[in-house]
Amino acid sequence: MTTRIVELRRGILKKNDELAAGLRANYAAAGVLVLNLVSSPGTGKTAFLERTLRELRARGARAAALVGDLETDNDARRLAASGAPVRQINTHGICHLDAEMITKHLDGWELGELDYLFIENVGNLVCPSSYDLGEKIRVVLLSVTEGEDKPLKYPTMFNSADAAVVTKMDIAEPCGFDRELALRNINEIRPGIRIFETSAKTGSGMEAWLGYLEKARAK
């Protein structure tokens, strides 16, 4: 038997990466800032995004959202109440969004008419980290009801993020949330990352977050 080695050096997610590169070029050409929001289920991505969309619209910005869930269009309906264009992506069992789903669901939307596009990923801190959606900013969210050591448990996700948002700060105290420890752990996995401590309920921390968005878009 004679055998030989064929060098491939091919990324297993090459197809996704190529589609994401195409999306990234489209977003840049349209001048829309695209963010990919990732967290565990129940962190409060939707509540945070509802408030973000509402406040951006109040400032005259044009924002839209794509929202991923295994089933139901509950989140899309909640987000659409802000008045922003919203589309639901049902993955029917798939635990993450990929670039092909995004491409398909953007069909018919004029990206040039948007300032911001938010992609709310499926609640999962593992698989979404491997799928590039062409976003400019990956935002990882962590709520005060989760363990402060979550960044250490899910280093890939936290290390691949560009910004971190701590949610539900209004109930930090009754939850016994150790703020210093949580911030230290985030920094240990992703040194120097911008961290926003927010409450979608009271609106605390939203001003800094919106300022960050406006600055990122102007870049």
């Binding site: 038997m1 004679t2 055998t3 030989r4 080695i5 064929v6 060098e7 491939l8 050096r9 091919r10 990324g11 297993i12 997610l13 593992v126 698989c127 980290s129 491997s130 250490l152 280093p155 890939t156 290390n159 691949s160 920094n187 240990e188 996995i189 992703r190 040194p191 120097g192």
Partner: protein, 107 residues
């Protein structure tokens, strides 16, 4: 892989070599467990799977060196202790190469 195989008529894949970074979110044991099931009845049936895991390598701006991290619990330079954010290696998930048997007798 099947594409590359099509270019070599009558060939059989003997071994598949992957490169998997420490931050690729891939559990090598699970991958090996699934390999046999996933390849059953395909052109890759019976092929060996060899996984090479790659540690995280960062560029440390403080000491100007490329450094290998021992784990993924702290992104600090093992030499100087400063935090590092320039990732050079660790997210790979790729097919490095395949070994094929041309189906011809050695001669």
């Amino acid at each position: 892989m099947t594409e590359s195989l099509a270019a070599h008529k009558g060939a059989r894949v003997v071994e598949v070599r992957l490169r998997v970074g420490a931050l690729a979110s891939v559990v090598v044991d699970s991958l090996e467990f699934c390999w046999g099931i996933a390849t059953e009845g395909t052109a890759l049936e019976g092929a060996r799977l060899v996984v090479k895991t790659l540690p995280v390598v960062m560029h440390c701006t403080a000491c100007g060196r490329d450094v290998e991290l021992e784990g993924v619990q702290s992104f600090r330079c093992p030499n100087c202790g400063e935090p590092c954010s320039d990732l050079l290696q660790g997210r790979e998930l790729e097919i490095d190469s395949i070994e094929i048997d041309d189906g011809q007798e050695a001669g």
